[in-house]
């Protein structure tokens, strides 16, 4: 884990409400594992005392990029950052996705909205390509389909309004496909990132069908390094549950570890 003053290389509208931000980060970039995140200090936002966490979308020896949605004050302020400006990052943070558990496993990616920012490096790094399910409100929320296809993934899309792919939640596309895989659930391994409700739906299916599933959880964070105990998630233990820190013990958890609240 490193605190690095990075320099913005590129910052463009990507699609809809999403922007792509690339920074030169020679210290953090080379150390990123798929599914890890960085904690970013928004410049010129002096009334904000907290950083903002973003999954690393892409990373290499020179730097890294994030793909983000503008949803509130911090991301709105981030919009005004220009190439050449300095950005203070902490990273790479947390535990990312594991690689495939077994040979011959069919990897399944499930993403909602910016969720596939967290999945791209995983998709690129896995030894095998499988099926990727992307969900979103509308076609504008379906990101990087071509990029995942170019990596060899079979991409299936669902949108709430039916403007692209199946109409409905991502499970509307996933469930029929899962049904087809009935005979080989043990051969599947799911990697998912998206809104909480989606992750829970995936977790439920994984448990029910005994599929290994890895969920990248999204929790409000303060420190991002395990010190403040803001971002806790209930993790099952032998005798009940304990708090696990999303930032430090996650953000990726095995679905069977998570105790969902009623």
């Amino acid at each position: 884990m490193i605190q690095e003053k990075t320099v913005v290389i590129q910052h463009d509208l990507f699609q809809g409400q999403y922007r792509l931000l690339r920074v030169a980060a020679p210290k953090i970039g080379p150390n990123v594992q798929p599914g890890q995140f960085i904690h970013l200090k928004i410049p010129r936002m002096e009334h904000a005392v907290l950083r903002r966490p973003f999954s690393v979308f892409k990373a290499d020896d020179e730097g890294l990029s994030i793909l983000y949605a503008t949803i509130g004050k911090g991301t709105a302020a981030l919009n005004s950052v220009q190439p050449g400006e300095e950005l203070d990052l902490l990273g790479p943070l947390g535990n990312g996705f594991p690689t495939l558990g077994k040979d011959k496993t069919i990897p399944v990616l499930v993403a909602g909205g910016y969720g596939n920012a967290a999945l791209y490096l995983q998709a690129a790094g896995l030894p095998a390509q499988g099926v990727a399910f992307f969900g979103g409100r509308t076609a504008e929320d379906i990101l990087c389909v071509d990029e995942f296809k170019a990596l060899g993934w079979d991409v299936r899309v669902a949108t709430d309004d039916g403007s692209m792919g199946t109409k409905g939640l991502v499970t509307a596309a996933l469930d029929p496909w899962l049904e087809e895989q009935k005979e080989q659930f043990q051969a599947l391994e799911i990697f998912a990132c998206g809104p909480n409700a989606m992750l829970r739906a995936i977790g439920d299916r994984a448990l029910e069908k005994q599929i290994t599933a890895w969920l990248s959880m999204d929790r409000n964070m303060a420190c991002g390094v395990g010190a403040c105990l803001t971002c806790v998630i209930k993790r099952k233990t032998e005798t009940g549950w304990e708090w696990a820190r999303c930032c430090k013990d996650g953000p990726v958890f095995n679905a069977k570890e998570i105790l969902w609240d009623e």
């Binding site: 420190c223 390094v225 010190a227 403040c228 803001t230």
Partner: protein, 305 residues
Amino acid sequence: MSKPDLKIKIGSLEMKNPVTVASGTFGYGPEYADYVDLDRLGAVTVKGICSEPHIGNNTPRTFETASGMLNAIGLPGPGAKGFVEKYIPFFEKYDVPLIVNIWGRTLEEYGDVAEQIGAQERVGALEVNVSCPNVKEGGALYGTNVDLFCSVVKKVRAKTTKPIIIKLAPNVADIKAFAVAAEECGADGLAIMNSYPAMAIDIETRMPQLSNRTGGLSGPAIKPIAVKLVWEAAQVVDIPIIGMGGISSPEDAIEFIIAGATAVAVGTANFSDPSTAVRVTEGIESWMAQRNIASIAELRGTVQA
């Protein structure tokens, strides 16, 4: 320009510089060790420890506000035994003094944790968080009722010979009464201030932004409140004060010292910049050197008020 003398003492606790971190914002020590050379801190102050393990509050536990944040973490922790087993060994490889923040829901819990933690050689001082509701006496706060407050200080005093630093609650009409009471009951130092009771509400869901409904306000927003409380307390006690509340720069720290603080703690600012405490220390040193101020003692309490 010779190097200014940054050393300070709180009872028998010696710190090579006046800058520590605020309890609860720096974990138990290891969490920030990748970013910060702990040995450059005057002391490490760890998250509050109770006699028994404690689960804390549900989430959401924090919420950002204008120049501040709310927290209601709810004091989760491994308990005294768990802390000693899990974290004391970590500190063996460092020289930095260790201050352990303690709390209880009953007088007995305060006594127990003080005894267990106070018995650890590696521990330099105990910081006593009195902003807790007394579960036995119907939830009255130890920190805002002088009698309950004295009972805690005396109990902890009786259970350890280590320096004890009483961390005062800010939400009182007259901080001086508590400062004097702490000194009279045997405290070696004061810590001022804890986060301020506060609340935020999501207007769409009409739910409080914290699961605990209310929480403590910290960060630059409260700095002027903290400076005043330190200034007031410093006028009525002789024991040293650790000033805190919104410190994020050397200038902030110097302001507290001029108001009367002997040491300072960096809290919320760690989240935004983990190197704050080290930056503050370096900044105090160079600021003093530039002005030929030889020691912290020359600066302390020199406000022209």
